[in-house]
Amino acid sequence: MRDARGDIRHLPGLRLWLSGGWLLLLVLAAIFAPMLSPHDPLEQDLFAARLPPFWEQDADPAYLLGTDSLGRDLLSRMLYGARLALTVALVAGTLTCLVGATLGLIAGYYRGWADLVISRLVDIWMAFPPVLFAILLIAVLGTGLTSIIIAIVVIDWTRFSRVVRAEAMSQGAMDYVASAQVAGRSRFGIALAEILPNVLPTIVALLTLEMGIAVIVEAILSFVNLSISTDEPTWGGMIAEGRTSIYQAWWVLVFPLFALFLTVLSFSQLGEGLKEYFDPVLR
């Protein structure tokens, strides 16, 4: 038994450490961005435009990762970009989780007409391409951080409600719920004290996954220039700029893309790792 347990735990442990490590680094970078950034992320210097990263021949050591076509320092922009990415990940991810999980819990445990309405809404939501829905919402709400967060919550709550509903339904059929009912607990009390704790591991795993998705949605919105104000440094905005100058300056695309890759991968691996960690069968 012991040996098998060691084998299974080995890989998730490594995954948790690696992904957690990168995310911690990112949080520190975001918090200390003003101190770490060698330049003002908005400062333009057309004489220093499209400088390559430090290991290339024409590099300027003052710009470690090079500059974009307006001569803005890529490293500084990436550090500041991490602030928006993480803010969106944490706030939008948590809010989406709260809304979606609550609705899923209601639908799955209370059933009846509430379930009918919520399930129909999920069906309707599934009829829209999420990216298009998000862009449409931003067009209507206007750009800005609040709009991005609202858009993410509105498009993605179904991800939580679908899974939590199914879990709550199967938990609701368990003996311990029946015995709590016999013991005279209220339905609301059972939902909070019995069902929720058992669904929580799933919710936590989904939450980290959702944070990665939120980062992507924000990057996509900045990529099409519908995120926050256009000057503000965002990874998606940098990627859009890099896409247009890809043949002249590949590094403008590569660095923010790399950061985005690692961040999204870390969030999803953290989610997978946590799921295995919490899962009593695997544990």
């Binding site: 069906d123 009829a127 829209f128 829905f133 067009a139 990529f223 099409v224 999803s268």
Partner: protein, 336 residues
């Protein structure tokens, strides 16, 4: 009789979903922003302009009345006129739809080929390093969305080794005169294989970006089902008859294991179509999604509305089709 009733119920829910989708679009576009006219007009429009537009779009009436007028028009295929392109929205959408459909279908084929091959290979070499490698690759493929795969493909196969085109749908230098908007199908039917190759060269990277996450999903589920099948009696029987392992997996296990994967592919196909919105943008591919983003940036409300509704229709139809195919393929459901 049972099947007819099930069909009718399914059709009814489809209609409810479509009506719901229409209401959401209506609410988002007409009610939330407060004054849609302000969004439709250029800055500096006079009050008379505003009044004229209001009457034109029936905005001087009550909200339920507005919805009725709107839904009747939509049901007749009248989506209004695009503000920026000054053409009927219906024609614009129909003109772009084939490009998106061709891209989605090519992506689906690629996903099935990659995912299916990977699952069969992993089953053939189960419990070896090869299976482990395929699992890891599948895990990474699944963790990252199509947008990131698209960017990675642009860098690697578009710039580092420029093997494929990274923007557009067809090279204008070919000077090929298309009579329809189904470019790939038309080039195939007219036996112009140079054009077919050019089209595929443009489509491959965006299609691959869309296909990678789906291929990973197919791999995981199909591998799981195959693994379960491999313990069944008929596999043991085939083995005693002396068939090769490859033949056992493809001819005996696969047909029995494929049904759950087929259903999943159907559901996931709508996600893939949804991904075309940003992937078309990334690859400057002239499809519906790319037009949608332009419409949003230009605040072309009639066009946005038309595109969103067409996507909703497409998604619900795909889902309906999947359910029906599933019912037709699964004998247990057919006789129930």
């Amino acid at each position: 009789m049972q099947i007819v009733r099930a069909l009718l119920t399914r059709l009814a829910t489809t209609l409810v979903t479509l009506l719901g989708a229409a209401i959401i679009v209506f609410v988002v576009i007409r009610v939330v922003p407060g004054n849609p006219i302000a969004m439709m007009l250029p800055p500096g429009a006079t009050d008379a302009d505003i009044e004229r537009l209001k009457t034109l779009y029936g905005l001087d009436k009550s909200i339920p009345e507005q919805f009725w007028i709107w839904i009747v028009n939509v049901a007749q295929g009248d989506f209004g006129t695009s503000i920026t392109l000054r053409q009927p929205v219906f024609d614009l959408v129909i003109g772009r739809l084939p490009a998106t459909l061709e891209l989605s279908l090519i992506a689906l084929v690629i996903a099935v080929l990659i995912g299916g091959t990977a699952a069969l290979t992993a089953t053939l070499y189960r419990d070896t390093k090869i299976e482990g490698g395929i699992d890891v690759a599948g895990g990474v493929a699944l963790s990252l969305p199509d947008f990131l795969w698209g960017l990675a493909l642009i860098l690697v196969l578009g710039v580092l080794w420029p093997l494929f085109h990274i923007s557009g749908r067809v090279s204008p230098s070919l000077g090929f005169d298309f009579h329809s908007n189904f470019f790939l199908l038309e080039a195939l039917l007219r036996l112009r294989f140079d054009v077919v190759f050019d089209l595929l060269g443009h489509m491959l990277l965006p299609a691959l970006a869309l296909a990678i996450p789906l291929a990973a999903i197919i791999l995981q589920l199909l591998k799981q089902s195959l693994k379960e099948c491999m313990h069944d009696d008929y596999i043991t029987l085939a083995r005693t008859k002396g068939y090769s392992e490859t033949s056992i997996i493809t001819r005996d296990a696969l047909p029995n294991a494929i049904l759950p994967t087929l259903t999943l592919i159907g559901v996931q196909f709508t996600f893939l179509i949804g991904g075309t919105v940003i992937i078309e943008r990334l690859f400057s591919y002239e499809g519906l999604g790319n037009m949608a983003i332009d419409a949003v940036i230009n605040r072309d409300l009639p066009l946005i509305q038309g595109i969103v509704l067409v996507f909703a229709l497409l998604f619900t139809l795909v889902n309906l089709l999947v359910d029906m195919t599933y019912a037709a393929l699964n004998p247990r459901l057919r006789h129930a």
